[in-house]
Symmetry: C2
Subunit: 440 residues, 2 copies
């Protein structure tokens, strides 16, 4: 399919610039999965389009990358709110997750992907269970994702390792390039040295990135110190893991020395501001990390600790939290924020041709109606602080329109919602039954 997106303002996205560039009277030309041209309309090459999308003056920009989430947990939305992390995990989340099935995970992923598309997210980085079902959902919906089987190992049995490799064999770079696979050991807390050695070995052998939770809570850090004599970042360094591409979720409790280490090693730190607040994990020192040259991406985390997959909420909060807690309004620019939500996330997923709108890159593009930002005094500020997720009017992944003005092309909203409700209800029943059985 050859597509022209016309009548738009455009930002190609942000790399290292201090400001977000905007191009008025722009046009984007797409052939198949890739962008042929993105820039001034007057300088566009001759192009015969089979499909024309009229942006109606909206802003075209790179689609967002949700760089840390557990999409099937969309089914657990609003479960266990306002509990302590321990209560939340052990009394609300784990007792439900024990009873997940392939169908639960498929229903939860469909619901989550639908929400991400609605709010302009075009790719995501996930760690969960029953990953084959999640991959099927990504395949069917047209989404783009880096998927990792969430590996835990408390007894050195490494029993979660084979399914992680199976996921790779079945899905990595297969069928099309929308689905890639990571290795996702949960955290220092939930794994063993034996398991992490295997992960490291497989990461090298199969060229897979590693997705892991790092120092999410004070407790994560302190327990690692007790067990390993090292904090999680130093522990990963000690076993050689930082020589591989690592996506480190959270990093709330990093010292200056660890920040410098992650900057030097090129670790991508995924900031999940809402989840970190809701679970009372704390506020990650993002301004300091950016200053030290760290790569910062953005994530929503799972919906049970958010309760949305709306990355615009994270975009607004990322700079605000730093300003408010450091008492310095000049830290974290709109350009740094947009980069975290687009190009840095895309790079973390392993793509070198994603996250910026330019010729040759993959066509993951969204349209944002900036009309409500009236009178429109400052586009950079409006993009980060004014725009709502619902201002997204069109979401395109891999050159295909997946959402446009309320219409999904690969999902049937009413069906997705009714299945989600049915599966959630059945899950709660299974957990309830097991609980009452255990109490007998």
């Amino acid at each position: 399919m050859r597509t022209r997106i016309k009548n738009i303002v455009m930002t190609p996205g942000v790399t290292t610039e201090a400001h977000i560039p905007f191009i008025d009277d722009a046009e984007i030309l797409i052939d198949g999965q890739r962008i042929v041209y993105a820039g001034k309309k007057t300088e566009a090459p001759a192009f015969e389009a089979q499909q024309e999308i009229d942006g109606g003056g909206a802003l075209a920009m790179p689609g967002l990358t949700n760089c840390h989430t557990h999409t099937p947990m969309t089914l657990l939305r609003s479960v266990g709110s306002d509990l302590t992390l321990e209560d939340w995990l052990h009394n609300a989340i784990f007792p439900l997750e024990k009873h997940l099935t392939d169908d639960t995970v498929k229903a939860g992923t469909d619901l989550g992907v639908m929400e991400m598309l609605r709010f302009g997210t075009t790719s995501f980085n996930d760690m969960y269970m029953h990953m084959d079902s999640e991959a099927v959902s990504v395949q069917e919906t047209g989404m783009r994702a880096l998927l990792g089987y969430g590996i835990v190992d408390f007894d050195e049995s490494c029993s979660d390792f084979p399914p992680a490799l199976e996921l790779m064999e079945k899905w990595n770079h297969k069928a099309n390039d929308r689905i890639r696979v990571s290795l996702a050991p949960h955290s220092e807390t939930c794994t063993t040295k034996k398991l992490l050695d295997r992960v490291l070995d497989a990461s090298l052998r199969y060229d897979l990135p590693i997705h892991i939770h790092i120092s999410e809570t004070q407790c994560d850090r302190d327990d690692s110190l007790k067990r390993q004599g090292l904090t999680p970042p130093k522990y990963l360094e000690s076993i050689g893991m930082l020589e591989r591409p690592v996506i480190a979720a959270h990093c709330v409790w990093l010292t200056d020395e660890e920040i410098a280490l992650f900057a030097q090693k090129g670790v991508v730190i995924v900031h999940n501001p809402i989840s970190n607040l809701k679970l009372a994990s704390g506020v990650a020192p993002i301004a300091k990390m950016l200053k030290a040259g760290c790569k910062i991406a953005l994530g929503t985390d799972g919906v049970a600790s958010n309760n949305n997959l709306n990355l615009w909420e994270e975009m607004k909060l990322m700079p605000l939290l730093q300003k408010g807690t450091m008492l310095d309004p000049t830290v974290v620019s709109p350009a740094q924020t947009v980069a975290a939500a687009t190009s840095t996330g895309a790079m973390a997923l392993g793509y070198r041709d994603l996250g910026l709108l330019k010729a040759g890159n993959l066509a993951d593009i969204i349209l944002v109606d900036m009309d409500r930002c009236c009178p429109g005094n400052d586009r950079e500020s409006d993009l980060v602080y004014t725009v709502q997720g619902t201002d997204v009017t069109m979401t395109m992944v891999d050159g295909k329109v997946l959402y446009h003005n309320g219409i999904y092309t690969t999902l049937q909203p009413e069906l997705v919602k009714s299945r989600a409700k049915k599966e959630a209800e059945a899950l709660f029943k299974r957990a309830e039954k097991a609980k009452s059985g255990a109490n007998k």
Copy 2:
């Protein structure tokens, strides 16, 4: 007009309860400005309605009160982002505000009221200039507001005092009861003892509440200590002002002793979490204040330090910020948050018959589509953490529908936006001209 709202779930709102009550299969009956019945459909009295609103299963709840804002500043949206407070005020905001006209303020207020109605705000508490224009907008749009002329006084001339009284004489409780007037001395920083004495006297004489900024920044507090030998709360106490109804915006830098004082005196503290973060003022100790028995309401502050009038963003952030900075996920409940956005704000505006859906109360009601909260595991959590401002489908003030499914009944959106753009442009030109004149 006699109106029936049917096919709804309902929450009457929150007073002091630990949880938000919900009523399924509910119905609301409205006669003129007031609620006749709000409860179970099966228990509703016979009622002949002239108008029926089908909620389609949506949640009906009290409209939100934005308890601290400067609505005309909607015209200055995104101006001066990421500057220090001093830079923001002196180099971005004040140079523009010097050139405001009645038309600028009218255009800004119309734009702001339109946005508030869209996001389910049915009343607001304002402090600004050219207040007659703002009152005309409130009158015309059908909104409800407590309006105060923002009084500053640096030289004991008290020259802002007469316009504040004029506003009262012209608008307080006049025509209808949607517009009430406050006395709004800006802050300790920007006023004199002579002025505050006059305010206190007029507040008593005319029975007017007082709206004032209190300890917004560390600097506000420290400067007051230097000038008065007392912090702003203790200074207000010393001059007898806390014996009057006081709406104290911000209160970021309050000591435990001052929190106890405000609790004892019944001062309404207005929390503006986004503005406080954006201007790097800090995080108000709201959890501590609630525990001490303080009355907490919510506000957006002006749009230039937000950039929205979407109180749902503040609702999500109020509990999150406390959890994340106190490292305790159990503090600040959904019920406390909803009370801050509804009943406490309504009470602060001086109403005893607003903020709860019950017979006899004024009919300020909104409908919220909870469909996107699928699968809907916990309504309380969904209402605070999941719902977006755009999920509001209907906004009714004083028994009149002002917004319903994209349609405004008293405002013409395209006209409002084009006027706002024109007035903003003209304002920037006047300021630019004055600046270049001054530089000659």
